[in-house]
Symmetry: C2
Subunit: 162 residues, 2 copies
DNA sequence: TATTGTTATACTCTATAACTATA
DNA sequence: TATAGTTATAGAGTATAACAATA
């Protein structure tokens, strides 16, 4: 966990965000694991269903690296939920096609995701959930839209294997 | 980034929480890096200032592992901000004593943290920030208090080196 | 030359186990 | 026996580089 401890009196926004997002992520992981999915598999499945999309396009939508995408698509193929198909427009690219079983699983996983979210919002008093969503959406589209430059040391280049 | 992509129409609570907490964390890291601190160093410094505390106590307050604590205290000592002192009550334990320089840095880092948080809340319309804090606090103390059991495979035991 | 997808691997982060010294 | 702190290292997650095929 990367979280600042709660200040005794005043609520600490960093702690609140870190804690809630962490807990919600574990809850979501457990809920989706029951049908054999990770959050990333669910995300790719849903976006691949909407329209014909390549791995790179799906990676951008889910904010993943293309190499992470490879692993995720491997898992989906192995589970029989999606298939790589050559793109007719670009022979380098692969369209991720959702199988019938994949579409059914995606329907169920979306229900699971919606249910987990609904349960959280229903734990709040009348109207507070709506304000919470509105405030967070505002921040995501505005002041907190983009991350700051990471101040960490740059990763060194890989050793040439000749 | 571990985040689900935004649903087109309905706001996705998981995405909103992951995105805002991630962005805020990078902003905070950059802001604190200017005075040579990480969020964890700041957290330990502040709690160590409040009263005499051992490493284990500070680790619990910051929700860190005791081994992570070792690294953090090492960094604080190297920067001359804190010192390990033997506890008079328990010769196994070390009290983390904040130096004068450490106290001064902690004062400044608390200002930085408060400033970053204030800026976020001020980016919201009148009153919405208060509701946001109230709703999140409610969740942290109630429905989202504790993480679900991690469904990941347990980490295997370390190889005995004899 | 640039881009898609792949592989291999290096780096970071964190937690586990074993250890030393105390209790 | 159990606990505080330390060390070493395993494992997960992820990003980087290089590569092959194609644009």
């Amino acid at each position: 966990m990367i979280a600042m401890a709660p200040a005794r009196t005043e609520p600490d926004l960093s702690f609140l965000l870190d804690h809630t997002s962490h807990v919600l992520r574990t809850r979501m992981a457990v809920a989706l694991a029951e049908i054999g999915l990770t959050a990333r598999m669910h995300c790719v499945l849903v976006h691949a269903l909407e329209e014909e999309r390549t791995q790179i396009q799906l990676a951008e939508l889910g904010d993943m690296d293309k190499t992470t995408m490879v692993v995720t698509v491997d898992a989906l193929e192995e589970a029989g939920l999606a298939e790589r198909r050559p793109s007719s427009a670009d022979r380098r690219a692969r369209i991720i096609a959702v199988t019938e079983k994949g579409a059914e699983v995606a329907r169920r996983s979306q229900e699971i995701v919606d249910g987990v979210h609904r349960a959280v919002l229903e734990a709040l008093p009348e109207g507070e959930g709506e304000v919470l969503l509105r405030a967070m959406s505002r921040l995501v589209e505005g002041y907190l839209a983009t991350p700051a430059e990471a101040p960490q040391a740059a990763r060194r280049a890989r050793q040439r294997t000749k």
